[in-house]
Symmetry: C2
Subunit: 218 residues, 2 copies
């Protein structure tokens, strides 16, 4: 696995990679949507499949051995680009682009389409849980209290329609390595799902982060 | 939205579609993984991006107006093929292929790779939540008590490594339209995440399902 990798690359280089990989990922995300919704002839489906396989082989000509991990530049900026909620290189991510402030608040607006459907026309309950887990973790991290999910509780107030949505999260309180965060998912009419979670930074992660990327804690 | 659509198609036709769309979806899923992990030259990344865009346009030449919905054949068999956990046509799904029995048990073995990573080398906590939400819902449905998630609580016992995993769920008890289900995610060493959830069949869904696909309740 890639692990927490510290790379000595500049902000300019990160921006260059963002401009290179972002559009590729957007293109693949669009293909995921089209794969669910297409009604073209069988021969055309098979022809496209063969070409997709050829493109995958081209991308795999040189690739990471395992998953992406979380990469840190020398400035301490983290890039969880494989992340299934926010990852710049993950075409399965909505993606959610999260904004934060240092008080431990995080918020985002995003669009969920066909790839996130559970009941007809509605967001899959598990997708709401996944996004809220990420948002609560982002709030904890933004407030200087990063951690892994310890417990997570979701209350579904009503169905969340596919389309344009908003998520918000904030730190409720913290004690040592434990942080309690709350959050919610909203459509244009108001709250659809509420979440609360406990985030804990386990010892192994604390030690590894301190050794590999001390600025993560600044 | 597609809604709960009843289609008068045979089991043979469903099998034909499965053999057509399954391999396309597998190919696109593999491309999602390669998109995260590729290290080929910039020019090659851009060239592949252009070809992906062309393939998407070909698939979109004829397509569903919106999301896939849940389609039922005349035999009452449901096909949630756009579902982000189990959907045959969703390249963002692992996919999890769930087995059930009529007592309300559901289980599955599956593999999670680079597209499901949260902390380095570990499954994203939100992905575990998403899969367990689906599994608990599958157990409720298998036991004749389908519903939408009302509440869901997850307890993360330790990090879940990327790789081969198992999930299990069962009905704990039920009362009218409410069903309580429990479940867990496991790696080779044992339980990593525990879940419990309340599933409720809302009136609108009950009425729509009864009108459109009465066999759903048999």
């Amino acid at each position: 696995m890639a692990g927490y990798v510290r790379e000595d690359i500049s902000d300019d280089e990160i921006e260059r990679q963002r401009l290179l990989y972002g559009p590729l990922t957007d293109a693949v995300r669009d293909l995921v949507d089209a794969t669910i919704r297409t009604e073209v002839d069988d021969d055309e489906v098979r022809a496209v499949q063969a070409e997709v396989e050829a493109l995958t082989a081209r991308l795999r000509a040189r690739q990471l051995d395992g998953a992406y991990g979380v990469r840190f530049s020398s400035g301490g900026r983290g890039r969880p680009w494989g992340n299934p909620v926010v990852g710049l290189r993950n075409a399965a991510a909505p993606p959610v682009v999260v904004e934060h402030d240092a008080s431990g608040r995080a918020w985002a607006t995003f669009h969920l389409g066909a790839a996130f459907e559970g009941p007809p026309g509605l967001v899959h309950g598990g997708v709401s849980a996944m996004i809220l887990d990420q948002m609560l973790g982002e709030a904890a991290g933004a407030g200087g209290k990063p951690g892994m999910t310890g417990t997570l509780t979701l209350r579904y107030r009503r169905g969340t329609p596919l389309g344009d949505l908003r998520a918000e999260a904030w730190i409720e309180r913290s004690e040592g390595i434990k942080t309690w965060a709350h959050g919610r998912l909203l459509d244009a009419e108001g709250v659809t799902v509420e979440a609360e979670g406990l985030f804990i930074l386990p010892r192994w992660a604390r030690e590894r982060l301190e050794a590999e990327s001390p600025k993560y804690f600044e």
